[in-house]
Symmetry: C2
Subunit: 582 residues, 2 copies
């Protein structure tokens, strides 16, 4: 028996009990003839006391314990003279009568404290030590609790969790697959799923009605800070539904998670069309924790003699309320911000609304006071407001102003991580023009259904066709998305044609799905939430890496176990493979 | 809105309501001027009526519906004249006023009924249609419910579900890995996990204390009927535990599952040492739904002049109670059964106990009646019993008699699938002699701890060293197994040495784990349950394939989606690979 209690549960109610605890030495200090040791486990910290007067040799042993030693102690629960109200066990301590070292420990390469001195690389290499730190472990406990609540909710809504296969078929459409060579079928490969999309649709054809899965997915893409080659989705699909049905169910899921995990009542989730999101926020994932909506100014700003505005397709701005006192230096910094190559804007016009209501702008020589007043009026500006205006081609300037809006809001402290503002963005375009390949590709995926009334546009104006597709956006982050799917073989064939598939390619890759549609496929739709992203938002973190137990680095390596690595020649031979580095 | 209710919920309480249902046409029949259609969804079946007198054209449309058409109907709930007490909706029917075909269906290649006419291959190819059949869907619903209950129980016991990575490192020890070529690290490979073993041990080093995961694992082995290249485990690990602690927790899990899923009180699970299991049942996974324990007969059967017994290391038998009336033909069939090459026994001795207590055997000429009576006495045989006796080298004859015992029990109907007899088999040997490679390998895995008192035997008699390893056996099937792990670097190094690893190999493959042990590793242990196997037992099935939504065939192929398959040359080039079939 290694313990009778954990290190987080003893209180004054346990006074006088003889207990056994096991855990790690958090810290140790001497005070006169006494040694105090904090012993730690997942559940908490308990103070141990060793008194030289009671047992000098035991006390000597205690003094020799290093940080992170694993020990087992037996002793009596006594009341502390110096109580610590910050921890649940702070009223008691253990007067130790027996000490056993279960395992010694080398000095860790960084401190195991909430704030550590270890850099990223060393903490990745010794991830098992980083995971000992409270904030890291708390993130993973949050993840566990969230997954439990997701399952509880979806089970209560009659969803069935069905495991779909990991060894599937490579489909070159979309992102790059990880592939798995087959030994039993020489020269052939499985692929790891980028999502269980086709399988969940087949489950709908099977009549499963409501499916979900919390499932790993894989994409062999060049990694950015918040991408991982393997990631986790809450994947769902429903039959006999229209878009509203799906939104309502998963709005329910979001509310359940926030209620149970954060104690927050999320309220009802507003809906915004993609077109409105682009017009009002310049983004398909607007952060609506704050206002600062775009104001379009063509009618009041163009043809007044300012060449930049006159040449622009769109003049558009935001009102940074109460920011008229921004200094020249601050405004220059904002201008530099939007001129960075990543954003690529050419300039920023600003206008301050003075206390007397007059407007002072960076383009005063082109505009009369009345014209400036008309502009300010469009913003419903008040004295003390700062108007930030940009101009250019519609698509570009919206994206640029989106970046500026987020930057200003960050500076103003409007993006509080404890505030949660969810949003459904609906009516996404079906197709997206791909400059590189000079063709359209599916904005969501090839199985997304167009709005029936827009189908005629497929031949005349494909970019205008709207899809029954929707994203769940939280605080400016796309947490999930989905669509009502095509369930008709002819419409699916038409989609593949518009996406540039030959009938043969479509048949080879997705023939099984189209054939399934001919045996009685119900209308169906669904969505997937990015589980890593969702948990990172719940935890108030910027990176998904912090909510993954064993993440990979930006080169796709696990530097702790040193993977990937070379394999034996016999393994290659069995797989009929040769390495051929050019 | 596709439906107001499902096809499984309307009853007399809903009389008079106007409802909308969607589902599949299960069957259709005409009766006079009426057409009756059974519409089916996951939740049940509801009868629809179309009356030519009410609406002749609607009735005509209804007559044209084929099996498996997907339809949507609106109508009034009315009372049935011919009630069907077998289904919950059997008291009502829907008088249809509107019918819409949501999707037509070709005639399925096999009937979608509980008993189907489809062979294995066709049902695998059209798995999405096979999944429509009630028994198949019920298996997967059972699987869903079981996974929910597993999570509920383990969560209540403070286990944290932590996702471990799928892209890990290949370790040639054990079964063959599936590997995944890395594009970003040319010439290097990830491996898919055979189990999350090392990661869960690292989580213990991290202080996670109690970990679990329901997780896919992968083994590239030649497949047998009940093996799949990807399979699912309930994987668990606990810190500060001894063997008893682990057994108690997972006995609790088994009881919880049986109680909630089957309504069965499993009682407490008996424990049996590996040595006893081999001695009494000739198997490390005895089926204890019935007795028929082995009786060893050396002292009464040897040196009586029967050369076969005299030459044997062990004479051992079972008592098939009340089987004295087995015919000569039946006994010959049993003899043929054990002589099959898979079993390889040379012969079977039988002895009948007559009504008068005398014994009539197949070896009467070698044994006196008194000697035969002494043998029967060892079996505590009664008049009417049949004794079946075999002889040979200890290990071989035990295995052979095990097969005979199971065969006889099957013939006698003692292996009822609705009876559940769980068992812990404990104290497994640490090492197993590997004839092919003339060395020992780990019977469980290299991380299993030897019993401390047996460690000295490692050098003198390695085969006798017992491990802190245990299996959970249910009805003669190994459902799961685990061990107390090594948590000390020196002992782990010693184990690797005994398993034939050079220090360099051990360091290259498991250096990270041994290093982790030097930073304060707690005593820990755990186990894994085969989830597919567990669910198949709960469902009373012989094959795990029936509880997997999309299984692979015996060549590791998914014949529905046609995977594995060839990939594009560009994919190979990006991975720096060449196919090289010899």
């Amino acid at each position: 028996m290694h313990r009778t209690h954990t290190c987080g549960e003893l209180t004054l109610a346990d006074l006088g009990k003889t207990v056994t605890l096991s855990g790690w030495v958090q810290k140790s200090r001497d005070l006169g003839g006494m040694t105090f040791i904090d012993v730690r486990d997942r559940y908490g910290i308990t103070q141990l006391t060793f008194n030289a007067d009671d047992d000098a040799s035991l006390r000597t042993s205690a003094r020799e314990l290093g940080r992170e030693y694993v020990i087992k102690v037996t002793g009596e629960v006594i009341e502390r003279s110096n109580k610590n109200s910050k921890i649940p066990t702070g009223d008691i301590e253990i007067k130790v009568s027996n000490l056993e070292i279960l395992n010694a420990a080398k000095l860790p390469p960084f401190t195991i404290e909430d704030e550590t001195d270890g850099g990223d690389d060393i903490r990745m290499k010794f991830r098992y030590l980083d995971l000992r730190r409270n904030p890291v472990r708390e993130n993973l406990i949050l993840r566990h609790r969230t997954s439990q609540e997701v399952r509880r909710y979806l089970d209560s809504q009659h969803f069935l969790e069905v495991e779909t296969p990991y060894l599937i078929k490579s489909t070159p459409e979309g992102a790059r697959d990880f592939v798995v060579p087959s030994r039993m079928n020489s020269g052939e490969f499985y692929a790891l799923p980028q999502s269980p999309q086709t399988f969940k649709q087949l489950l709908m054809v099977s009549g499963f009605d409501r499916y979900f899965q919390i499932v790993k997915c894989f994409r062999d893409e060049d990694l950015r800070a918040d991408r991982q080659p393997e990631f986790t989705q809450i994947d769902c699909e429903m039959s006999f539904v229209e878009q509203e049905d799906v939104l309502n169910i998963f709005e329910g899921l979001a509310k359940h998670i926030f209620k149970t995990i954060k104690g927050i009542d999320l309220g009802s989730v507003p809906r915004m069309t993609y077109a409105d999101a682009m017009r009002l926020y310049g983004s398909d994932k607007p952060d609506i924790r704050f206002g600062m909506q775009f104001v379009e100014l063509n009618d009041v700003a163009k043809e007044k003699g300012f060449p930049v505005f006159d040449a622009a397709e769109l003049v558009v701005g935001i009102n940074a309320e109460n920011c008229a006192l921004y200094t020249r230096k601050q405004l220059d910094a904002l201008t530099d911000f939007i001129k960075r190559p990543q954003i690529g804007a050419t300039g920023l016009v600003y206008a301050r609304v003075n206390e007397d209501g007059s407007v002072k702008s960076s383009v005063d020589k082109f505009f009369s006071p009345e014209q400036l007043a008309a502009i300010a009026d469009k913003f419903h500006a008040k004295p003390g407001d700062l108007l930030l205006i940009m101009a250019g081609s519609k698509d570009k300037v919206r994206k640029q102003l989106n970046e500026l809006r987020l930057e200003v809001a960050t500076q103003l402290g409007l993006r509080n991580k404890d505030t949660f503002a969810p949003l459904w963005v609906i009516d996404f375009p079906l197709l997206e023009w791909d400059e590189d390949n000079a063709r359209y590709h599916a904005m969501h995926h090839p199985f997304t259904s167009p709005k029936p009334e827009d189908i005629p546009l497929l031949d005349t104006n494909p970019g205008e066709v709207r899809a029954n597709a929707y994203d769940f956006v939280l605080n400016g982050v796309e947490v999930g998305g989905g669509s009502i799917r095509i369930h008709d073989k002819e419409l699916q064939s038409l989609m593949f044609k518009h996406l540039g598939f030959s009938p043969e390619e479509a048949q080879k890759q997705f023939g099984f799905l189209m054939e399934a549609f001919t045996y009685g496929a119900p209308p169906h739709g669904g969505l997937a939430f990015g589980f890593d992203r969702l948990v990172s938002l719940l935890a108030g973190l910027d990176s998904i890496r912090d909510v993954i137990a064993f993440p990979k680095n930006n080169s796709g390596r696990d530097i702790m176990i040193d993977a990937p690595s070379t394999i034996h020649q016999e393994q290659l031979d069995e797989l009929s493979l040769k390495i051929d580095i050019k």
